[in-house]
Symmetry: C2
Subunit: 416 residues, 2 copies
């Protein structure tokens, strides 16, 4: 049977906006939302409205949202409890000359949630915290060298960004990489650089873009912790993406280890702009010596949203719900993949699955599949882990799988 | 007459909060709000509510706000027009997988306001933009060296932060400094480093902390512009603090020059967290090659607030109003200073005055005066430029001067 090839749909309102944007914004849309990163024309460009686990693009098309703003939306868009807490603070005020009392409450609450932590600080970007944590490690140790996993994302800053434009050699002079789970490489790096090692910075599991997620081996975290202790280096946990999605006490609890400083951002305030770093008592003095401030960093509304969000996560057993929904989605997608003989590889925790077609090393076929899924009203990312929220209930997953089945049918026809 | 010496008042609720904070936050309060930066115990620690040009601390004390959140509050706290625009977008959604249409509108509007600019990008911190602009200059020129003015603040990032903790030598290897208005030093730097010069980054006038503000000499901007052109370096304007406070088209218009890239933040959204960089067409391609993203950077609420704020500034002739209020304040304070024979030095533009006591090089007497003013319900910063807003009307300035007169009386008594 002769089927039409996959065609970009280029919906009218979105493309009109993008044409205007291209005139006044470098690249039209930049960063993680760049259409160049998915399939130009086949994915939504602009979002106009969102509610729960759904959003609508500039052309009025509805999508089931499996990216959740690339992570921040953990309770679903427009969550009443978080919005009420934010609105209450907003009526009082937001951007003051001083912190609001809620900063103290939030710091106390986060310190109570995160077992190893004695203190907390807050910023706006995840990068604000990962970069600052690296500086705290350098301040504490008086050393320069930082070890990270190849391909890991720790933010936009020059020492670690995935970009190359505008960087100079000095930006990464003391940044070293090893392959995730390669404990021989880790041992060997410490053997060579141990006396200069300020910190190892790692995500709780490996979730690179354009790659499968990789869980730590049984020996991974005990070995990292032991080597850091042995050589006097700090262990920084970049929990920006996974934090409070896997365990209510931080992702180190999920994997059973203790970092020295952990960085949080995305899921802590259901989309309100705030990030946090928490650390052990031993590093509090060094932390207080590393410059840390920003125009909006006392913003009380985002702190109120964070407090409400974190309390709601605990009260609503969010972790369990997201895990159950993620398992339902994973099992359903795998069953469909098997039925349509289009095998999928699904890696990572169920609530943050990385999904691709099997035998698709360059992600091209996965992009095609996700583009077809987009036409069915599913925002499935072709090369980044997805995110589920508490708003993804059983009915939403059932509907998603129904839409996915239609996508598999269309996809199958493109290769038959 | 025997007068009691100045005593910190240590108000109860504020100190109770601070004691709690000290347990869970390095330094208790960090960054620009740190009480260590003013006079511990004599200034407010926590803000609980704000309205217009006033705010209330944790002990219910009212202050006339001459810092405006260190700049962002340009229309006054809780401005109805900005809040309405933000609330409208918030009901639709904020943190999406994509930009909202308002991003295009905001980029178009800012490009229309700023004469030399052809494009705009947005971040969360002022630092996000100044650091990125430096990278764009390095990307465009293929050179490393950056020249800045000694003592100028360009943000929290390692290449320029006023801190030292956690920094390594490589962070500032290619960052050079010259004294503001020292054109011989400027010429000489270009003579030595011209072929390696990526950019000169400058604020529109010099507004260092712990120092008088300094206006550019007649020859300053023409010389900077000429030398940048001659040597192929970019001229980056850090208009984070002054932007849209001196001129509705950006502070370069106030001083009559054209930069290549300008960075904005504080005043553009009346406290909603957003920053922006605007640039000339020649640098758009380089700009699109420098990595630029963050978890909350598509945040539509802050963009809606920015659009409403900038439009309101224009409509309400905010610049003129703030200048008039600033002149009234300056003239009134100088008259009081003269009356009480406690001469003041007031520098910088009237709407962003830097105020200190004469013959007070270490700012100690100024701190004492500002501590007394705080007891009278005036938040006067002892070593940072102040900010006025549109909400500082004639009545508020009159009331401020009445309170200031009482402060001068008390201050006089501490030295008599």
């Amino acid at each position: 049977m002769n089927k039409p090839p996959l065609q970009p749909s280029f919906p009218k309102a979105s493309m009109a906006l993008f044409e205007r944007a291209a005139k006044v914004v470098p690249g039209g849309i930049y960063g993680h939302a760049s259409p160049a990163l998915t399939v130009p024309g086949a994915f939504p460009y602009y979002a106009v409205r969102a509610e729960g686990c759904r959003y609508w693009d500039a052309d009025g098309v509805e999508y089931l949202d499996f990216m959740c703003g690339y992570g921040p939306i953990i309770l679903g868009h427009n969550h009443a409890g978080v919005e009420d807490a934010a609105a209450h603070q907003r009526r009082l005020g937001d951007c003051f000359n001083h912190p609001a009392p809620v900063m103290v409450e939030l710091a106390e609450y986060m310190v109570s949630l995160v077992d190893f932590a004695d203190w907390a600080v807050f910023g706006k970007n995840g990068s604000d915290m990962t970069t600052w944590a690296v500086q705290v490690a350098r301040e504490f140790t008086g050393r320069k060298k930082i070890l990270k996993a190849s391909g890991a994302y720790h933010g936009k800053d020059a020492w670690c960004s995935p970009g190359h434009g505008g960087l100079i050699e000095e930006d990464r002079r003391h940044i070293h990489n090893f392959r995730w789970n390669d404990l021989d490489a880790l041992e060997s790096w410490f053997k060579t650089h141990g006396e200069q090692a300020a910190a190892v910075i790692l995500t709780p599991y490996h979730h690179p873009a354009f790659g499968d997620s990789e869980m730590p081996s049984q020996e991974f975290w005990p070995t990292v912790r032991r080597l850091c202790d042995k050589h006097g280096a700090l262990l920084i946990l970049d929990d920006v993406r996974a934090g409070f999605r896997l365990h209510g006490g931080g992702s180190h609890r999920f994997f059973g280890f203790e970092p020295d400083i952990s960085c949080y951002c995305k899921a802590i305030a259901n989309g309100y702009p705030i990030s946090a770093a928490l650390g052990r008592k031993e590093f509090k003095a060094a932390a207080s010596r590393v410059f840390l401030t920003g125009s909006y960093w006392n913003g009380a509304v985002a702190m109120s949203a964070a407090l409400a969000c974190l309390q709601t996560l605990e009260k609503e057993k969010a972790i369990e719900k997201m895990a159950a929904a993620g398992e339902m989605l994973r099992d359903g997608l795998l069953a469909l993949a098997s039925k349509f003989n289009s095998p999928l590889v699904i890696s990572g925790p169920p609530s943050m699955p990385s999904v691709r077609l099997a035998h698709d090393d360059n992600f091209e076929r996965t992009q095609e599949f996700c583009a077809i899924a987009a036409r069915e009203g599913l925002f499935f990312h072709p090369h980044h882990n997805w995110f589920l929220s508490v708003a993804h209930d059983g009915a939403a997953i059932t509907e998603s799988l129904r839409r996915a089945e239609r996508a598999f049918v269309s996809f199958k026809s493109t290769v038959s």
